[in-house]
């Protein structure tokens, strides 16, 4: 079970879980803050809408197209 950090908090998820599924199951269950300040969560689940864009180990990635790996640092407020 990979352990990753989401906004500084450690979480463990089943092998093969996407970062989007992980985000929706912990913390405030959101992935980003919109230009007008609303918190948003993954929407399309298939790499189209970009609502799940997060910072993973410093790079901007789509959470729904990224699989959780041990040691990942995920930030939803950047």
């Amino acid at each position: 079970m990979p352990e990753l950090s989401i906004d500084g908090q450690p979480f463990r998820f089943a092998q093969g879980t996407t970062v989007a599924a992980a985000l929706m199951a912990c913390g405030d269950r959101c992935s980003r803050t919109s230009v007008s300040g609303q918190r948003r969560a993954p929407l399309c689940g298939m790499g189209i809408c970009q609502e799940c864009r997060v910072s993973i180990d410093g790079l901007r990635r789509l959470a729904c197209q990224t699989i959780c790996r041990d040691g990942m640092q995920v930030e939803t407020h950047s």
Binding site: G45, M46, I48
Partner: protein
């Protein structure tokens, strides 16, 4: 860095996998790209919450056996890099790949239409929720409302139930008469009739559509129109999608002819552009069986086996018949164009409200004045919605087609200086 293949296939769903398997025995060099971490496309998505179908597993195992087929997962097309050459990016690197022939199997996405509250956390697409559950989202014990249109609602409900959720309502916008006509014709496709029976649900209502998602920080309830009545249902999630729209952005950027939102192909699955083929949902929504046979035909034609491809025409025609019925059965009710209110956000990247868009006559003037479609998704969501809401022609994508790293874009420059 740059590479060359004889045949490039974009998309590793049913159509792309079938195309690769049909072309592989010829021995030509084939690359197949997919932007998801695992092959299978949307319908055969694998993950902790998925039951991966045997047919898909068998196809995946088969194409791993071909040394001349290279699969690039989690890889995006960033831009055109010259004639028959694309700029690509994955998690590690950017590079250019040139090809002699291309088969586009870019699939379809959900049509997401704006309604009050659709930006609240807890609201997803219908297929979107299914994809997220397959990807490991726990939903056990949650109350879920599924709304929109098409058989995908039932498939999504089934995945949610199998993962322990309580599906409290399935709201299908089409009328009972049209869904009934669709279902009554299914005897011609026995596996589809069987699926329909297996997926049947007591929570299913026809002539029903979402009016609003309610809640302040997060979804708490859904307001639904069911015939003449209005229901308010407390729930944890709303999964709403109004059927599918083909992903034609790359085809369109390449210059392939697009009509009725789909890549135009001839009987050989050839697009209007020489050496460029298309197969599966990007040529029009029709389901995985049609995608498989179209992919096979495209793969065979790409390696010059037209006679063998021709033997598959009757099967394609049979599944095209199913697709036609599907599209008639679930045609969208015009009332769905009126769901958004003045302050409903339509562009979720730039937070542009319905009233700010409705004042304009075209996508271009709306974009210039409001920034709609200028965010990270480049209008894939809002321009698709405004095409339905206002009849606006969606824009051509500009490179980069999706957000990319500077180091990747630099590869374009290297291409120029080498030329």
């Amino acid at each position: 860095m740059s590479a060359h293949v004889d045949l490039l296939i974009i998309g590793a769903g049913p159509a792309g996998m079938a195309a690769a398997l049909a072309a592989a025995p010829s021995g030509i060099r084939i690359a197949i790209l997919d932007d998801n971490p695992l092959p299978g496309g949307q319908i055969w998505r694998d993950g902790p919450g998925a039951k991966f179908p045997a047919q898909a597993a068998e196809m995946r195992a088969k194409f791993e056996q071909y040394a001349n087929v290279q699969l690039h997962s989690a890889c995006k097309v960033v831009a055109l890099a010259g004639p028959k050459k694309l700029l690509l990016e994955d998690a590690e690197r950017g590079w250019t790949l040139s090809y002699d022939q291309l088969i586009l199997c870019t699939g379809a996405r959900e049509l997401l239409l704006p309604f009050p509250g659709w930006t609240l956390p807890g609201v997803t697409g219908a297929g979107g929720l299914q994809a997220l559950i397959k990807g490991g989202l726990p939903v056990a014990g949650e109350r879920i409302v599924i709304a929109g249109s098409g058989p995908l609602l039932l498939a999504s409900a089934d995945t949610a139930k199998k993962n322990g959720a309580q599906v409290v309502r399935i709201a299908e916008q089409a009328s009972l008469a049209s869904v009934g006509r669709f279902a009554a014709g299914l005897w011609r496709w026995p596996n589809k009739a069987r699926q329909a029976v297996e997926l049947a649900s007591g929570a299913y209502r026809t002539r029903a559509h979402v009016l609003a998602a309610l809640g302040s920080e997060r979804l708490q309830a859904v307001r639904i129109q069911v015939g003449e009545r209005i229901e308010e249902i407390p729930c944890d999630r709303l999964a709403c999608g109004f059927s599918l729209v083909p992903n034609v952005e790359i085809a369109s950027a390449l210059g392939c002819r697009i009509e009725a939102r789909a890549v135009v192909v001839d009987e050989w699955q050839a697009s209007s552009l020489a050496d460029h083929f298309a197969a599966g949902e990007c040529t029009g929504f029709g389901g995985s069986e049609l995608a498989l046979v179209e992919g096979q035909i495209a793969g065979l034609v790409a390696v010059g086996q037209k006679d063998q491809a021709r033997t598959l025409w009757p099967e394609r025609q049979r599944w095209q018949g199913f697709a036609d019925r599907l599209n008639q059965g679930f045609a969208l009710n015009p009332a769905l164009k009126q769901l958004a209110t003045a302050d409903t956000l339509v562009c979720r990247c730039e937070d542009v409200a319905y009233a700010d868009l409705a004042a304009h006559a075209s996508w271009n003037t709306a974009k210039l004045n409001t920034r709609c479609g200028m965010g990270a998704c480049q209008g894939r969501i809002c321009a698709t919605a405004t095409q339905t809401l206002f009849g606006w022609e969606p824009p051509l994508l500009r490179p980069p087609f999706s957000p990319a790293r500077i180091a990747t874009l630099v590869c374009l420059d290297e291409t120029d200086s080498a030329a």
